[in-house]
Every structure is written in C-alpha cells, then in structure tokens.
Amino acid sequence: MSLHTAILGLSLAAALIAPIPSHAQGCAQCRDNAAATPPSTQRAYRRAIILLTVTASGIFLATITVLKQHR
C-alpha cells in the first residue's frame, strides 16, 4: 500500500468518523397537512399524477417513435 492510498484512506476514515451534525429545517405544517389528507383526496392526486405523466411521456415517446420511422 503506497503512501498515497494510505493518506486517502485515512482522510476517508476521518470524514466518516467525524461527520458534521445536520440541523433540519423541516415543515411541521406540511406534515400535518399530509397526515390530514383523506384517502379520497389522495386517490384524486394519484389519478392526476398518472394522467399528467402518462400524457407527457406518451407525447415524448410518440415523438421519438414517429421520428424513428420518419427516416
């Protein structure tokens, strides 16, 4: 093991042993809001998300497949 690798390994170990404590900036209101969402609303969101993604990815894929055939 060369000196280079040793220094690299040591600094990696030091970084792992002494991490910086992380202080969160959460959002309690958001959490409450999510917890208070009734299942029917959640279902509506799910549906809306699927509608958006399916249409958008449909357009994307259609463009590419059509162009593949174009030439």
């Binding site: 208070a36 609303t41 279902r43 509506a44 969101y45 549906r47 809306a48 958006l52 357009i59 030439r71």
Partner: protein, 257 residues
C-alpha cells in the same frame, strides 16, 4: 430531367411584373403552375434527396402544427388533472368534519346541441380539406384552367366558419343560462372549472376561426396552390383537434362531475 427550369442568375430583389406573370417571387417561368404537390423545390421526383421532395412545405407546416397541438394537449390535460384534484379536495371545519364544497354544475342542455354542431363542422372542414387535394382539380389548376379547387372548397370552409360561430354563440347562450341560475365563475369549485374549461376552449376556437378566415381570404387571393393547401390543411387539423378536445372536455363536464 427537371420539369421546371429555374434560371441560375436570379434577381436578388423582388420585382413585380404582373404583365409577365411575375408577382414578385423572383424571376420564374411564365406562370406559377405548381402542382401543389410541393415538388416545386425539386421537381425531379425520381431523385428525391433527404426530406426534399413533394409536399415538403406542407409536411413541414403540418409538423409544426402538430407540435403546437401536443403542447395544447398538455395545457388541457393540466386543467383536467387539476379538475380531479379540486373535485375531491376538502377541508376540516371547526367541528372537525370533512367539508367538500364541490357542487356539480348541471350542464345546460344546449351544450349537447353545440357538440352536435361542432361535430358537423368537423365533417365540413374535412370535406374541404379533401377537396384541396383532389387530383383532377389539382391537374386542372396546373394546366391553368381556373381555380376549381378554390371553387369547390370555399363553400365548405365558409360553412365551417359559420358552424364555428354558431357553436360559440351556443356556448355564450350556455353561459347566459348558467348566469340566470346564478352560477358564475366564482360560485363554486365546480363552476370554476366549468367556466375555465369552456372559456379556454372557446378562445382556442376563436383562434381557429381566425385561421379559417385566413384560409378563406387566401383561397380568393393566393395564386399558389400550395399556400392554399397548407392554410386549409393546417386549419382543418387544428379544427379536428379542437373538436376532439371538446368531446373529451364535454364528457368530463357532463359525466365526471
């Protein structure tokens, strides 16, 4: 062997020499007898290079239009997905009960009539569009025997414009009827969406009527068959798409509230 010979030493500046059948697009062979097939850029049909060839301009404008319509589709899909979310969004009141203020807006029955009119206009514009490409008439125009294509397509486009205006009037009547029932834009989450969707669709149809009017003027004014074909073709595809969007939006408003 190219069927039209374009001189190399063309003029840089546009000059109009009507008596010489040169209406300002540079020096050309006597009359602008283009087949409308778009083969005007490279009339040698046997040796097509890349995307050059018949109907090049037409297919370019069509593609541009379809890209714009794809964006438009996303616009309406965004509204529809917001519709689904709002429909089931509620809140908890002070007694901790879940309240959903959504009251379905009853569709004014005139909308059924409007839908039928819009479907009819789709048929008329499609007939007009097909007239633009009828081989016999294209050939007649190419031979210089008048403007049979314009003669045949004009009434159909005019009737489409009329039907479009009737549809918009019908929509205005529907808004009026709702207003008489005291259902306004701001009344209820459901009416927000009813008005938002019908208004934005009506704006799109206004643009479509603008396109149809342009096509009507161009049919009378323009000598280039290809220009006329492009305008009518693009207006027609736009109109079809708006009809299709309306079917879906109407189904949403009528059955999914």
């Amino acid at each position: 062997m190219p069927s039209t010979i374009t001189p190399i030493n063309t003029e840089r500046d546009k000059k109009r020499r009507i008596e010489d059948h040169d209406h300002g697009s540079g020096r050309r062979p006597p009359t602008d007898k283009r087949t409308g097939g778009g083969g005007d850029n490279n009339d040698n049909w046997n040796e097509r290079s890349g995307n050059k060839g018949p109907r090049e301009r037409l297919s370019r404008y069509r593609l541009g239009l379809f890209c714009a319509l794809a964006g438009d589709l996303m616009f309406f899909v965004a509204l529809v997905s917001a519709f689904f979310v709002s429909q089931s969004t509620g809140r908890y009141n002070v007694y901790n009960q879940f309240v959903n203020e959504w009251l379905p807006t009853v569709i004014p029955p005139i909308l059924w009539l409007n839908t039928a009119i819009l479907l009819l206009s789709t048929v008329t514009i499609e007939i007009a569009r097909r007239h633009m490409f009828r081989e016999n008439d294209v050939m007649d125009e190419w031979l210089g025997l008048g403007k049979p294509i314009t003669r045949r397509a004009f009434p159909w486009i005019a009737s489409t414009t009329l039907l479009g205006l009737v549809f918009l009037t019908g929509q205005a009547l529907a808004w009026h009827q709702l207003a008489l029932q005291h259902v306004f834009f701001k009344s209820n989450p459901s009416s927000h969406f009813f008005y938002l969707i019908t208004y934005t669709h009506a704006i799109h149809l206004f643009l479509g009527i603008g396109a149809l009017a342009t096509a009507l003027i161009a049919l009378k004014v323009s000598r280039s068959l290809e220009t006329r074909q492009i305008l009518v073709d693009c207006a027609a595809w736009y109109w079809h798409t708006m009809g299709l969007f309306w079917i879906f939006l109407f189904a949403l408003l009528a059955f999914f509230q």
